[in-house]
Subunit: 441 residues, 2 copies
Amino acid sequence: LRERLAAINECFADNHTLTRPPRSVATGNGQEHPCRHYEPEEVVDYLCRDVAIVEPASGLQKKLKLDRPLVVKLGFDPTAPDLHLGHAVVLRKLREFQDLGHHVNIIIGDFTAAIGDPTGRNTARPPLSKEQIEKNAETYLQQLGTVLDLEKVQITRNSEWYSKMSFADTLRLLGQATLSQLLSRRDFSDRYERGLPVHMHEMVYPLMQGNDSVNISADIELGGTDQLFNNLVGRGLQENGGHEGQVVICMPILVGLDGSEKMSKSKNNHVGLQDAPEEMYGKLMSIPDACLPQYIELAMADDPAVKQELLREFTDGPRGRMELKMAMAYDVVRQYHGSNAAQQASDHFDRTIRNRAHLEKDYQVVNVSQIHGEVDMPLLYEAVASLRGCSRNEARKFITGGGARVNGQTEKDPFYQLEPRNQESVFLQLGKRQHFRIESP
Amino acid sequence: LRERLAAINECFADNHTLTRPPRSVATGNGQEHPCRHYEPEEVVDYLCRDVAIVEPASGLQKKLKLDRPLVVKLGFDPTAPDLHLGHAVVLRKLREFQDLGHHVNIIIGDFTAAIGDPTGRNTARPPLSKEQIEKNAETYLQQLGTVLDLEKVQITRNSEWYSKMSFADTLRLLGQATLSQLLSRRDFSDRYERGLPVHMHEMVYPLMQGNDSVNISADIELGGTDQLFNNLVGRGLQENGGHEGQVVICMPILVGLDGSEKMSKSKNNHVGLQDAPEEMYGKLMSIPDACLPQYIELAMADDPAVKQELLREFTDGPRGRMELKMAMAYDVVRQYHGSNAAQQASDHFDRTIRNRAHLEKDYQVVNVSQIHGEVDMPLLYEAVASLRGCSRNEARKFITGGGARVNGQTEKDPFYQLEPRNQESVFLQLGKRQHFRIESP
């Protein structure tokens, strides 16, 4: 198994470049952009291969045919400066545009951050001082640097135009949207229909974001699928002003470590881009198996061949999911910290899992044949029923209730196939106090 | 009948004062206000006798107990400077406050008038120049002078604060209202539900009007019942700011000359406050009978005894509605042009109606007995059936289709009781060319 993992790892070069243009071209200097050497159709296929939504569908090709560096916009809210792997999904797409010679323009929403929540009810959005905003923006840029080429990024603060905006301008901006357009945003209509307050200033925010696009003449706006509505507003405002609307590209949303909710710092289900290698590796090893394909697709570096192999293994392969997870975790850590750090994190994980078991004074060594008279590793529920001396049904309930940990991780699938870690033992913890080491004969 | 009318008219003094404080007190100089000589309860009864809504119900009394001149606000939109009898219903209530020594503050909405309709779709609201707005405001003030004591009116332009309002202030203002609060305004929810556009800037207007109240620290806001929502928004904003909210007083809406829609210049169903006496009188004589009680209550000068007598006559009295209408028309013209002008307008109306009939070369004199063999005047459909030689059902359709004019006015009620004008003749026009003068024997 170690060799297989090493083979997979070798597929990745040891550098921080996350994305590659369709063929290996040196990226241009911003004036000369390499995408001119390809047919726009080829570039579109390349850029869209892992994208969730392009609106309008033919828009990207049309923009690329303009044969000039495009302005690619990403908005950032400086109240939440901690970037995680969910953000990285979008940032890596931005990097692809950057590598193709296009201009990335990051809008820092400093204006609204300085206001905070004007109703004062949302304590998570206090008004931030100029200093706090600048500090957050700096932290943010530093993290961006783990994915983007910062020297080629243009940073724009939207206070540049909003601090000068008159009330008359505001009414003219608001006049460009109707109530039903804004209520087509599900977040608003859901809350309205459920009787929860939607404050009027909130309905201005999509228009502000859209107006940012007008101000920087964005050709493309990137975001997660949850930004589709806001980013289409920008397209509409540009068209109202007699300009061609931006193309909206939405990336899939990465699920958090809990496997159920969108990755976010407030849910504490995130892997920060600046997490230490060992922390990053450990968090990634804790995801539910069911999320592994998504992490392979969205968090791993961009090598379609490797991803495809791992996904095939996940569905049909003879190997356990633990080792696929290790390959994924290794690659993610490698992207942000390099190969050496990734290897050390992997080793550290092995050691601590093993050590944890060794430190337990009362772990009990069990030979696999004691469990079900065979030399193959049992399914989890078989082991639990045998070790706890209970019925299979009770064992199933115990497992789905979260009582069993396999090699340090909670495993809720009763049919989970136990397999020895590094061809040695399976460490099985039942409840708080029962520790077993199941060994092959 | 002429004598009865003269007797009614004598009830009114020949002056332009439309309202009177509860007892005949000289009005104060603004510092010394006469209402202090009455119990607040008495003043409340007096001020509320013809009011549609006071919100909150106990609010007016509480404000009057403050024992200082109150700030009474009325907003004015300088895109539509022509005032009519509908506005006068509210203005006369303002005058009552003024006569009691309170401070009238007229807000001129010059800020929004200068913007016009930001969507550019409503051609009735083009952006107005400063000059046009000032000209409209001047015209408006001149018309206000027919009802209010202009020397004691404070004029405020809301550009005073809105021209200085920052975008941040705007967001803070908007944060004070929720979508569902604004959608409780029927105009918005109706349009939204019917799929008609509600532009977002429109939803800001109620907040702007409300914010005007905050800026002038209004104690009371007057308006028609159609302003209830907007004026309650002002109350809410004042309370949000930690102040006592204004009391909202709404006057009934006067129906237009067509008897169906609210009086408005755009519907061309209005009597302008500066219409010439004869025009005013003629227009008032053209209202459908069914509206007469409303005009007696809302357009006539404030003498409850006279009004009550006329209303009793309308319901039970032996006299025709034409003469009650003349009494009403006389009194309204008298308010804005004086007794002499009112008398002249009345005479002119008589002459022209009569002359119009005389000028017709082909009018046919018919004795009432020719119609139905009796000396009493017939119902309209009886006359039409007889004079056109058609069935009663055909006559009914002809009348409800608008084919019959009685004494110069279209009459659509087949059961209308004809009665001789000034005890002489009934002039009946059927279609465009048939003119009859029906005479009593």
